[in-house]
């Protein structure tokens, strides 16, 4: 049976991953494990001139740490992520592949000079985790504003969209598991 493995990409509070496991298991109907022992450092992908880590390199690192993994992998980090051509990304995933990575850096209100809001932060983190894992199940961006797979290129977009997969995307996930 397929499962989802959450991997800390340091620095990141492991508690956040533990909290995510429950709602992710409910969303995908799959067992979710936090593999704290396999945590690795984001420095491997750090770009000193940009002060960010390259998310594509982190995906490669995840696949290197878990070769031939037959489930889904989600690396979570608190460092800011980017790909060379874009100023930042919230996360990156292999479309219909195994690995995905998400950053909580730009999901915290403090990043935008606002007062901390733990509830909102966790809500955003869960949406981002569902979104990146969704891509590993082969889901594309969804036109439905209420679906977590709706495209989001700013934190406001994340707040606007819903926290669950729409019926069509959820069905596609189930189909991919058969």
């Amino acid at each position: 049976m397929q499962s989802i493995k959450l991997v800390p990409v340091l620095p990141v509070p492991v508690d956040l991953l533990r909290w995510l496991a429950g709602p992710l298991a409910a969303e995908f109907g799959l067992p979710v494990h936090v593999d704290a022992a396999s945590a690795f450092d984001s420095d491997v992908a750090y770009n000193i001139s940009r002060g960010q880590s390259n998310s594509t390199i982190l995906l490669t690192e995840l696949l290197r740490v878990f070769p031939g993994h037959d489930g889904k992998l989600l690396g979570i980090t608190s460092v800011d992520l980017c790909i060379p051509v874009l100023t930042f990304v919230f996360g990156e995933a292999q479309l219909n592949g195994a690995a995905s990575v998400a950053s909580c850096c730009r999901l915290a209100e403090e990043f935008y000079g606002m007062a901390p809001n733990e509830g909102l932060f966790r809500e955003r983190m869960l949406k981002e985790a569902i979104h990146e894992l969704g891509h590993t199940f082969g889901l594309l961006h969804c036109a439905d504003f209420n679906c977590t797979m709706h495209s989001s290129t700013s934190v406001d977009d994340i707040d606007v969209k819903g926290g669950h997969l729409c019926a069509v995307c959820a069905a596609d996930v189930r189909r991919s598991l058969v």
Binding site: T56, P84, V85, L86, L140, H141, A143, S151
Partner: protein, 450 residues
């Protein structure tokens, strides 16, 4: 972006693998069909697998650079929306790229939110451009003279002249009796000209009093006169880019003739009560049923304006000179009013058609249309019969008692002279003889101008 039914396409041209790879994946998650090229030769080759809705094009590449490639790509597909991307932005390259037709210019790394909006806008722009092209095509297809009915050689000639002059920007004067369809000819010329996507503005000079005509043509400023509560555009201003159709041009006053000549020559004017010069790019088509040559002779029409307007002249023949068109016109109007009145009338009886053919139609096509409209009200489906006509018989023209050829020729020439207001040139044209011959015959038969 994957919201529409159509799958959009994006081509990424960049010499860096990581850029091509990451952008391809980024767009793929949005449902795009993506492809990439590492340099200009590959990009040009990829154009065969297009069309591409959006092309992300790097400026700094080995070999042919992005700016040069932009021109080549635009030559191959002018509809592709090209977004230039560079890590080495400069004002010069940005200006050059936009001048050469790039949709936009971004610096790497690109803000994902900005890129997302940019690509959405580029696709929206492409969809609108395509829609616009299709609409233009539709207008061009429907702009043919479908309402000009007639198969007579005279009407074929009129249509031929109209089509020829339509391709130019020449001023046209359409002459013909009232009801012959001069405005329809003007509209046909406009609809087949390069100005067809702009309006044709008709002005009936004879229907507007002289005091109002100036404001009608040139517009007025607020407070220019007592009832001028708002600034109003004039017809010349409204015709900017299109055509102004000045009907019954022969009726305008001497003062307006001077104004008109000046505006037609300079294409600029001032609104009534205004001090600002307004420029307008219009074509002039005018029409008259008056004998303007006679009006020049008696001093009521300015010769300089006449020559300015009469650059290309089209004469629309009266219906009685092209009776062969009557059946087709009658059927055209019958079908038109059958649809309007929702009446299943599909034929005109032979007796009725005989009456229509023998009638002289002093009111020309307009009169024929009115007669058919009236008949359609009375007609009992499926036919228009003689009892539906406002006239059941047409009196036969009285011929000369003397049946010699000379006598018949005399009557015919006299009739033609009357119909053409004793305009010698026009009568000679109708009779297909030269003016000297016509003068000789007038003298021979002792005909006198009434």
């Amino acid at each position: 972006m994957a919201e529409g039914k159509k799958q959009h396409t994006v081509l990424i041209v960049d010499d860096e693998f990581v850029v091509r790879d990451s952008l391809s994946k980024w767009f793929a998650q949005d449902g795009f069909r993506t492809a990439s090229a590492e340099d200009a030769p590959h990009a040009l080759k990829m154009m065969d697998s297009g069309p591409w809705d959006v092309i992300i094009l790097d400026i700094k590449m080995p070999g042919m650079d992005g700016l040069e490639l932009l021109k080549r790509l635009r030559e191959i597909d002018a509809n592709a929306q090209i977004i230039m991307a560079t890590a080495f932005a400069s004002v010069e390259s940005a200006v050059q790229a936009l001048k050469d037709g790039a949709f936009d210019y971004v610096t790497k790394p690109i803000d994902p939110d900005h890129l997302s909006h940019l690509v959405s806008n580029a696709i929206r722009q492409k969809v609108l451009t395509n829609e616009n092209t299709l609409l233009h095509q539709h207008i061009s297809e429907t702009a043919v003279s479908s309402e000009i009915v007639g198969q007579s050689p005279q009407m074929a000639r009129v249509l031929d002249l109209s089509m020829t002059v339509a391709k130019t920007d020449t001023t046209v004067m359409i002459r013909g009796e009232s009801g012959t369809g001069k405005e329809l000819i003007a509209r046909t010329i406009h609809a087949n000209s390069a100005r067809r996507y702009f309006p044709i503005i008709p002005v009936n000079c004879g229907a507007v009093s002289e005091s109002l005509l100036e404001s009608e043509l040139f517009g007025h400023e607020r407070g220019a006169f007592t009832s001028a509560q708002y600034r109003r555009k004039g017809k010349f201003e409204m015709a900017d880019g299109g055509t102004i159709f000045l009907d019954e041009i022969g009726t305008i006053s001497q003062k307006m003739q001077v104004e008109l000549l000046r505006v037609i020559e300079s294409k600029q004017f001032m609104r009534v009560g205004g001090s600002e010069t307004v420029h307008s790019d219009f074509r002039v088509i005018c029409a008259t049923n008056r004998n303007l040559e006679a009006a020049i002779a008696d001093g009521s029409f300015r010769e300089d304006l006449y020559y300015r307007l009469n650059v290309f002249s089209i004469s629309v023949p009266p219906l009685r000179e092209r009776r062969v068109d009557v059946p087709q016109l009658a059927h055209f109007f019958m079908h038109k009013y059958a649809a309007v009145m929702n009446k299943n009338v599909t034929e005109i009886t032979p007796d009725t058609m005989d009456i229509l053919m023998r009638y002289d139609w002093p009111g020309n096509v307009r009169e024929l249309e009115n007669v058919i409209e009236r008949a359609m009200v009375l007609a009992v489906p499926p036919s228009i019969r003689t009892c539906d006509m406002p006239f059941q018989t047409v009196p036969k023209k009285e011929g000369p008692e003397d049946r010699t050829l000379d006598a018949i020729e005399r009557v015919h020439i006299e009739e033609m002279l009357k119909q053409n207001n004793w305009n010698i040139s026009r009568t000679a044209d109708v009779l297909d003889i030269d003016r000297v011959t016509l003068y000789n015959k007038i003298e021979k038969y002792g005909l006198k101008k009434p």
